[in-house]
Symmetry: C2
Subunit: 146 residues, 2 copies
Amino acid sequence: MVDILHRIGVTSPPEDVYAALTTVDGLASWWTEETEGDGDVGGVLRFRFEAGGFDMKVLDVRPGELVLWEVIDGPDEWIGTRVRFELSREDGFTIVLFRHEGWKEPVEFMHHCSTKWATFLMSLKNLVETGKGAPAPNDVKIDNWN
Amino acid sequence: MVDILHRIGVTSPPEDVYAALTTVDGLASWWTEETEGDGDVGGVLRFRFEAGGFDMKVLDVRPGELVLWEVIDGPDEWIGTRVRFELSREDGFTIVLFRHEGWKEPVEFMHHCSTKWATFLMSLKNLVETGKGAPAPNDVKIDNWN
């Protein structure tokens, strides 16, 4: 099992980051405009992109501390993996420790997803700090897979 | 052992990306302005940032195909790890498959470095495509560790 890891710091309170990770409006403003569903525990969030999408079951949420999803539909490589956002406070920043965990193999697609996650997490940071993210379809393009 | 993985695609020929990975001028234009040394096999490249830096021994280079370094000085977690850039051609893009391999543990600093590598690889892409990268000290800041 291999994991994608990232860390960002947001100069805003944890509650603001948490809202951007648990509400449809928040998620649609940094990851993909085509977001619907329910961000509470037991709910399912559906994220759609030009090339497909992901359905996530919400396994755990703790206000200002944790958001944990399991991928229940999407590309084969993603199904059964988990996406974890751990929030903490340090030096006046809300730190987001991110893991997309449980990939079976470090395939080329995982390399692509790692870089995409970084650009989307920077979109999350910009959204919470400035009010403006870069969700799909206006996301940062990184390679020929988009 | 755990690895940081990334993938970018550059709309320029492999030789241009290779030059940005093997010459002091190239490296100084996307990673850190304070770069010196020798990018040929057996040479040592010294990269300096506000908070410290890294010395890399060049283990292997193949024009338009591969650049491989070993970290011989820097933060404890980096020493002995390897940084690998594999170049290939796909859909009119030069694909850079990146791995920073051989971390002992997925420590919080590794999360930070993964996100920083993504922003520096986007700086490499922008440099080669447009002539303008964002090397330190004018790099994209991601968190309280910079």
